[in-house]
Amino acid sequence: MNNPLIIDTAIHWLAVIFYVIASVINIYGLIFRREKAEAASYYIVFAGLIVHGIALVYRWTIAGHGPYMVRYEVLSSNAWIALATFLAFSRFFPKIRPASIFMFPAVFLLIALGLFFNPEVKKLPPSLQSIWLVLHVTFYKIALGTILIALALSVFYILKNRTKIKWLERFPDKETLDIYAYRFVGFGFTFWAIGMLAGSIWAYQSWGRFWGWDPVETWSLITWVLFGIYLHLRRFFGWKEEKSAYFFVLCFIVSIISLFFIPLVESSIHAEYFR
């Protein structure tokens, strides 16, 4: 038990257990209208978040850098920030709380997926040793959290519109789902922009250019512009409801390709991570 990687993995698994229990209770509470169960799931998921946070801090200590290099730590930190973002936003916008039925399982699936990859520590190359990198990565992760919420709201809008599933009545009315999805895409657009700004400052510091048009950067810009088109279509072309929900699902798929698939298939200055 002296191997720090085993300790790290064990704490992560403990967090997964918390998340699984929270997800089951949350789904039960939402579907069968058990408010106490739903409330309890938030306490459990919060406990999981703390355990998961401890795992990430421990990982940071043993690796000597933040959790943004290998797939194991990238997925784990994405899950943590997505959940923290959801919990923070649901405090200010209580109407999005039923989206927990999507967010809690999504979070435990992300962290569990991470656990299937090699947890070995990779050292940080000198070009990645910058505070701007930490900000760059953190804001992309927050953006991922907000667009996950927007995805949940868009999908629930489509389901509510197309089906007569009983438990969907627990969700706000369709108009509210639609407008919250719109707003969370706006949040995602903002956080994605902050991530790009921090990245361009980091690139300038490292290579003397704010933009290198490398594949990951290009796809990140394409995704951001797509979010911009979504917002533009909604604001000026009257797109809303199901049409915009489907368009956002497309935007989300592109964002996932940008974040997770392009670094795998393309050679890039960003290819140091997620390998």
């Binding site: 050292k123 000198p126 707003r183 903002t190 700004l197 361009s200 704010f210 394409i222 533009h232 072309f237």
Partner: protein, 437 residues
């Protein structure tokens, strides 16, 4: 003129421009770009796409971001945004300070004067306009300016990036220890803006020493180069540059590139006694038990020289002064000679006698003369302020009208009205008069 303005302001024009820019970016992603890909890859792509190659060359699709048509596209987008931003400033100013009361009366609700004033204040509404019988309160009045900020930010960012594209000068040199790069020497790679003159260094540069630090996993920890800058008068000044530690010297920003390796000084002698001195610069291996590779065509040697080296001949360290160089002479697919050498050693390579005279380190140094970079960051910062205001602080309005001996309340929100229903209901409930009234 009016028609032109309408065309620039049309939402369709904006959308088409965005899509065209997006399409250009996609083209640049699909077709190998000169500044990003190595020349062999570009040549390979052109050979495998012979029908597209002339079209690509003619329209500069192999360097999309430095073509005049891409600059023109950005410029038109810039004009559109500028006109739109100007219009938005007028709209935002009017919205913030307008004294117009919304028409209609059915939506107004009768309220208690004292209670409504308290409820409005508690929710953070500010009085923005009013007349003898009406008042306008707004929560987050700066929210009206979100779009203006967003557009201004995009304008500043695009204008600055255009300025950079047009005027930037960048040069890269791969330089080995004790080598002097003179101002007139060729760059390893360079990028010149469309309007900029040829990039010539105002001084000579000598690389004194390359320092490498590695993690115990053989991954690079830090790379540092000590440079001497030699003026025309022969005065020399020494400075250090490292990855992520930019240096500015006489107006130029100097960056340490993350490429480095060993320069092998090889003497190749043929059977007639002709000696060719070559410097083989090979990129460092990734690990102590892996080799770094390079292919070379040497003057006077008709065959391809394939080279590889291990950082340490014993493979015990990634950072050693005892590398092992292996040379292979290839005649098409066939290897006609092979020799492994340590520093100072000689051996036979096919018909040649080869001696490894010296081994020095080399690294990549980038010189950049860029104008407009602060504009990029300021522009981006303003974009973020704009979109934060739009989505985090959408404005909502409350109108109070005095008529028929009572005070009447009306809510309005330009965007996300449904999201504020609860807030409006809260104010409405807290402002109701006594039932007896």
């Amino acid at each position: 003129m009016h028609r032109l303005k309408r065309l620039f302001l049309s939402r369709k024009t904006v959308l088409i421009l965005i899509l065209l820019i997006l399409f250009s970016v996609l083209l640049a992603y699909i077709i190998p770009q000169r500044f990003y890909s190595i020349p062999e890859n570009i040549e390979k792509w052109q050979q495998s796409n012979p029908s597209l190659a002339p079209f690509v060359i003619r329209f500069g699709l192999d360097h999309v971001y430095t073509t005049p048509w891409f600059a023109a596209l950005l410029f038109i987008f810039l004009i559109t945004l500028s006109i739109s931003a100007f219009q938005q400033i007028k709209v935002s100013f009017k919205k913030t300070f307008s004294g117009v009361m919304p028409s209609g009366g059915n939506e107004f609700k009768k309220v208690d004067e004292v209670k409504v004033s308290t409820a409005i204040k508690e929710e953070g509404y500010l009085r923005m306009a009013g007349g003898p019988d009406w008042q306008k309160f707004v929560k987050y009045p700066w929210g009206y300016w979100g779009n203006v900020f967003l557009h201004l930010g995009i304008i500043i960012t695009i204008a600055s990036s255009l300025l950079i594209v047009l005027t930037e000068k960048r040069g890269l040199i791969y330089i080995y220890e004790r080598e002097v790069h003179m101002p007139a020497d060729k760059w390893t790679a360079k990028e010149n803006g469309m309007l900029s003159e040829n990039f010539v260094l105002p001084y000579a540069v000598r690389l004194e020493i390359v320092k490498t630090e590695f993690w115990d996993t053989d991954e690079l920890k830090q790379l540092t180069s000590v440079l001497s800058f030699i003026s025309e008068q022969g005065r020399s000044e020494q400075r250090t540059v490292a990855i992520n530690q930019v240096m500015n010297y006489r107006g130029l920003n100097i960056y340490q590139q993350n490429r480095f390796g060993s320069a092998f000084f090889v003497e190749i002698a043929d059977d007639k006694g002709f000696v060719n001195n070559s410097i083989l610069q090979i990129e460092s291996p990734q690990q102590r038990d892996k080799a770094g590779y390079g292919n070379f065509m040497i003057e006077g040697v008709p065959n391809l020289l394939k080279a590889k080296y291990f950082a340490d001949a014993e493979k015990r360290s990634i950072d050693s002064n005892n590398p092992l160089l292996t040379l292979r002479l290839a005649d098409k697919e066939k290897i006609i000679g092979e020799v492994s050498l340590k520093k100072g050693e000689s051996g036979k390579l096919g018909p040649y006698t080869v001696r490894l005279a010296d081994v020095l380190k080399w690294s990549g140094i980038i010189f950049a003369d860029t104008t407009g970079m602060p504009g990029i960051f300021i522009g981006f910062f303003i974009i973020i302020i704009g979109s934060s205001i739009i989505y985090f602080m959408p404005p909502r309005e409350i109108y109070l009208r005095r008529s028929d001996g009572g005070l009447f309340l009306l809510f309005r929100a330009g965007r996300f009205e449904d999201l504020h229903k609860e807030e409006f209901e809260r104010i409405s409930k807290g402002s109701e008069g006594r039932r007896s009234e």
